[in-house]
């Protein structure tokens, strides 16, 4: 069923009796041409683009829980393409372009809102770094504007401009950045993939990967063995555990990242702002709640909850940037498990096991990448080779030294 204004009007007159479920609930078949492990945004997008771009329709996306139960529901919904390095920026810009056409493409309201992403800076050195990043973006054909204090003040007069410790000296603005509705993204991709014949199988946990003679044969699941010549892993947060089923050891640690939503307030923030003196980012949802987050807790964790020191740290940054939030109450907080790769950049690549593909290492920046990640992973799986856009996101780059080190900080699992 296509969604349209006409359909809404018709269903309004029929008391909504014609609405059907958004996607089927199929039994897993014994054999598929390709299986994607993980029904998050990236996995569902992969299933969708396998069908749409590569005409592979005998495909299943296996999800251990239900669609939207993992990190797809545990992020701060920011979309942007303000990266520095050639290995990253064209990929994220492709993602941004896919976001811009996503609603028409999926026939689903993913609520993409290009309200802008503004990265503040508070020192001369940070201004230089922002200018460099902005120039790198523009060299890749991406929009970037460097604002001075007056420019930021005109946009957001409510910020703490004259704070003694971290006065706001300006910001790097990407107007095409913004937010999208996280649940709608997974629902939209699941429905669109399903309409092209992809099986979305929920409550089906992969418990093993069968490999013979260096070639993948299929996956063991809680609903039995499923055979497939190609298996793609898109289960960031748990990539190490799933890849270990095929004997792989990854350059990844799993860490917990917390995020928060305040009680709803009247419209006060019409863009996404990041505080440059600490690690903090904030936007206001359409319901009125402030959605914000900060750094990872900083220790290995698979628990989907964090600890108090980081809560305090994030609250301090929030009040430093927006003093008027000091008496707001936090409505909810949650923790999501992140694949922290050793250079802060993701992996979309083949693996040493034939027919086994890996989509992992998203650190805490996976949401914005959802469309391009699925698009590139589908290409990598279907053609058995990387697309130019993900050519640098190799699994072996840590061994060869060709890392994508956005921060220039060397090998450690706390980068982004």
């Amino acid at each position: 069923m296509s969604y349209s204004l006409l359909r809404i009007a018709r269903e309004a007159l029929r008391g909504g009796s014609g609405w059907t479920r958004a996607w089927r609930d199929p039994q897993p078949k014994p054999q598929y041409d390709a299986i994607v492990v993980g029904g998050g945004g990236h996995g569902l997008a992969t299933g969708y683009y396998l069908a749409k771009e590569h005409s592979l329709t005998n495909v299943a996306v296996l999800e251990k829980g239900w669609i939207g139960s993992g990190n797809a529901g545990r992020n701060t919904t920011i979309i942007r393409s303000n990266y520095l390095l050639p290995g990253n920026e064209p990929f994220y810009e492709h993602s941004m372009k896919l976001w811009e056409g996503l609603e028409q493409d999926l026939n689903f309201n993913t609520m993409v809102s290009q309200r802008g992403v503004l990265n503040l800076f508070h020192s001369d050195a940070a201004r230089d770094a922002a200018a460099r990043r902005g120039n790198a973006m523009r060299l890749h054909g991406v929009d970037a504007e460097l604002l001075d204090t007056a420019g930021v003040r005109a946009m957001l007069p409510l910020l703490a401009f004259d704070a003694a410790r971290f006065p706001i000296k300006g910001g790097l603005l990407q107007r095409r950045g913004g937010t999208a509705r996280h649940d709608a993204v997974v629902w939209g991709y699941a429905r669109a993939a399903d309409r092209r014949g992809v099986d979305i199988v929920q409550n089906c946990e992969v418990t093993g990967i069968r490999v013979a003679n260096g070639q993948v044969q299929g996956v063991e699941t809680t609903r039995g063995f499923i055979s497939a010549a190609k298996v793609g892993l898109a289960c960031a947060g748990h990539s190490s555990r799933v890849a270990a089923m095929a004997g792989l050891r990854l350059p990844i640690e799993s860490h917990v990242l917390q995020a928060f939503v305040s009680e709803g307030v009247k419209p006060m923030l019409d863009t996404v702002v990041t505080f440059g003196a600490g690690h903090f980012y904030i936007s206001q949802s359409d319901k009125g709640g402030l959605v914000f987050g900060g750094d990872i807790d900083g220790y290995n964790s698979y628990a989907q909850r964090g600890n108090m020191p980081l809560v305090e740290d994030v609250a301090e940054a929030c009040v430093a940037l927006l003093p008027q939030t000091s008496r707001l109450r936090v409505l909810r907080s949650w923790g999501g498990i992140m694949d922290m790769s050793m250079d802060g950049s993701p992996i979309i690549d083949r693996t040493p096991v034939g027919g086994l593909y890996l989509n992992a290492g998203w650190c805490y920046g996976g949401f914005k990448a959802t469309p391009a990640s699925g698009w590139c992973f589908a290409h990598t799986i279907a053609r058995d080779q990387a697309h130019a856009l993900n050519a640098a996101m190799r699994l072996d780059r840590f061994a060869t030294g060709a890392v994508i080190d956005e921060k220039g900080a060397g090998a450690q699992p706390n980068l982004h």
Partner: protein, 88 residues
């Protein structure tokens, strides 16, 4: 999360610096590139019991080996890393 330091007692985790896997053994300088790659980049990353290095930075400043469950944050054992080295 509170970590029971063997020297200072149970303290909040914000007093400690986390340094990751405790069981990695630094290769010799002339070890192969592959061995070094393994040491620098690859991790077991288990969901469950894990031996980790934490330094009690704002306390006794000792390096500790904390055996912790990464899925529940439960701590099973904490020993001074120097003592652990001697025992092994």
């Amino acid at each position: 999360m509170r970590i029971p330091c063997p020297h200072c007692g149970a303290r909040g985790s914000e007093e400690f610096l986390f340094r990751g896997a405790a069981d990695l053994v630094r290769p010799s300088a002339d070890a192969s590139a592959e061995t070094w790659h393994d040491y620098v980049h690859l991790r077991d990353n288990p969901a469950g019991q894990y031996n980790e290095l934490w330094q009690h930075q704002h306390g006794c400043r000792r390096w500790l080996v904390v055996t912790r469950n990464t899925a529940t944050h439960q701590i099973f054992a904490v020993v001074d890393s120097a003592l652990r080295g001697r025992a092994a």
